[in-house]
């Protein structure tokens, strides 16, 4: 779609720019400032240049946490995006069924994140939790506090349970925004359900799915509260994701400089990955139109 060229459109954007810039730029600059100093106290700082960055980049435990994080976010996207689209396609489009489905699907999203972790601790306990005792009842020993694999399964289950609804709501809203005329035309042409999905629904959902993929990627990459409450990063280090490692370093060792450098690197990784995703998704979109 061609757009009108008019720099006066900036006036419509200024409020958003100001309100975001206030909270964004000053804290970011402060953290950059911390990251190049060794801080002993408010008046006792030494400029150390890129030392903290070098230290962070050669930290083996950080590499391990990064690999875990990549695997986790990759699995999250692979499971949640297709599942979310599938559920959105299945949900009733109108009537009381649509209202009920929307309310039900939104429920997990509305629970504060620390509470989600707590609920899943109880839910997965072998003695008093529903799922924990059900799995053990089937004869499979399952304990997320002892076995790494079980901890991973638990965190993934919780993550899929918690966040697939976001993809569902986005995809559902995208589907609802498709004018009925498109489907009528497809029906007249005798299009199959698959080609309706492939050539009408999927391209029309591109915008919302782009947001859903980017959101799920960045939020899962920054995930902290839920796995921290549920497993505390353990057993061992098996569910120590990047944020958990960062907080262990920042709070545990009280080292603001290295933690800041780590934060900046972390931020740049997310930024780069999102930019690549975004460019790729834009290209996919233009490919569809040809």
């Amino acid at each position: 779609m061609n757009k009108w060229e008019d720099n006066k459109a900036w006036f419509l954007v200024i409020p958003v720019f100001l309100i975001v810039a206030v909270s964004a730029i000053i804290p970011l600059m402060t953290v950059v400032n911390y990251s190049i100093q060794d801080i002993f106290g408010p008046d006792n700082r030494i400029f150390v240049g890129i030392e903290w960055y070098q230290e962070a980049l050669s930290d083996h435990r950080l590499h391990a946490a990064f690999q875990r994080q990549l695997l986790f976010s990759g699995l999250v996207l692979l499971i949640e995006i297709p599942l979310g689209i599938l559920i959105a396609l299945t949900m009733p489009k109108r009537g009381w069924g649509a209202s009920l489905s929307l309310v039900l699907v939104a429920l997990p999203l509305l629970i504060p994140w620390n509470v989600i972790g707590t609920i899943w601790i109880i839910f997965m306990r072998p003695d008093i939790g529903l799922l924990g005792s059900a799995i053990n009842g089937l004869g499979i020993p399952f304990d997320h506090t002892a076995a790494s694999l079980d901890a991973w399964v638990t965190v993934m289950l919780m993550e899929v349970w918690h966040w697939t609804p976001l993809v569902v709501l986005m995809a559902y809203a995208g589907l609802q925004a498709i004018p009925e005329a498109y489907f009528q035309a497809a029906r007249i042409d005798g299009a199959s359900a698959w080609s309706v999905f492939r050539y009408i629904q999927l391209p029309k959902m591109r915008g919302v799915l782009t947001i859903a993929i980017l959101l799920r990627f960045m939020d899962s990459f920054l995930i902290y509260a839920e796995p921290f409450v549920l497993t505390g990063g353990g057993p061992g280090n098996s569910t120590t994701f990047l944020s958990i490692y960062l907080v262990k370093q920042a709070v545990g060792q009280f080292d603001l400089g290295p933690a800041s450098a780590f934060s900046i690197i972390y931020f740049l990784i997310v930024l780069l990955a999102c930019w690549i995703f975004y460019q790729a998704l834009l290209k996919v979109g233009t490919g569809d139109k040809q």
């Binding site: 958003v16 707590t118 960045m218 999102c274």
Partner: protein, 267 residues
């Protein structure tokens, strides 16, 4: 037959989705010693003591009021600023538009842990600590970009001919925007309002850092139950159930906007 299979699949999904929430409800109706001592599918001696405690203890229920207050403020600010901006991004090309659009989203990408300290310093400088406005403003950092992105997507789905026809018919920009355009993207506005509400409602780290008592959010109040004597699971579960209620009401009110969608024929 095919339709029925789909419905069965959906019902199974909803049952799985509701199980942890049911378990929380189950726990909220029992005493702490009862929860820890035995496994049961439903409370044998249901008690509403946990709920009574929350509704009568000011330190508990004021948490809900504080959260509702700053969340509503945040949703209002986010929508009011994002609507015109999203229109600009979807209709106009202007200096730096693509970079600005992506920059907005980058504000969601910083790991919060280390950023909390400069946030606290910044809001202290403006004397905003422990006010609802501080939390509402801080949450704009991640909600305003999201609102712009979602709304832009829906606005780009509306053919530009509608704008052109309205301007030819002599509509001014504000009148066109309010009477013609906004009703067309109500699905998008409903979704956006819900997501802004949701992300602001569940966010804990910023809200906890920027408040002490007067504007303390419910999620922070709930961490109090993690004390030396262990968790009070029943109380925590009851508080958790109550945190779902306001959001469920919000989605109940926007459901019509979500479900009706985009009726092009009406213009």
């Amino acid at each position: 037959m095919k339709l029925q299979k789909r419905t069965v699949g959906l019902i199974i999904y909803f049952i799985l989705l509701l199980l942890p929430i049911y378990w929380m409800l189950n726990m909220s109706l029992r005493t702490n010693s009862d929860i820890l001592s035995m496994f049961t599918f439903y409370p044998h001696e249901p008690t509403i003591d946990n709920y009574i405690k929350i509704f009568t203890d000011k330190s508990w229920y004021s948490g809900y009021l504080n959260s509702l207050y700053y969340v509503s403020m945040n949703v209002a600010i986010s929508l009011l600023t994002a609507l015109p901006a999203a229109y600009a991004f979807s209709r106009y090309s202007f200096l730096g538009d693509k970079h600005l659009f992506f920059w907005l989203l980058t504000n969601r990408m910083a790991p919060p842990a280390v950023f909390l300290l400069p946030f606290f310093q910044l809001y202290s400088t403006f004397n905003l600590i422990d006010t609802h406005f501080a939390v509402a403003l801080a949450h704009c950092l991640f909600n305003v970009p999201l609102a712009v992105w979602i709304l832009e997507g829906f606005m780009s789905g509306v053919p530009r001919e509608i704008d052109e026809m309205a301007y030819i018919d002599g509509y001014s920009f504000p009148r066109f925007f309010l009477t013609v355009f906004t009703p067309l993207i109500r699905t998008g506005i409903g979704v956006t309002a819900f997501f802004c509400f949701m992300f602001s409602w569940v966010e804990l780290l910023l809200a906890r850092t920027l408040t002490t008592t007067a504007a303390k959010p419910i999620a922070a109040t709930m961490t109090r139950t993690v004390s030396a004597s262990g968790l009070d699971w029943g109380l925590l579960a009851a508080a958790g159930i109550l945190t779902i209620v306001p959001g469920a009401l919000v989605i109940w009110f926007v459901r019509n906007h979500l479900a009706k969608g985009f009726a092009l024929g009406r213009v």
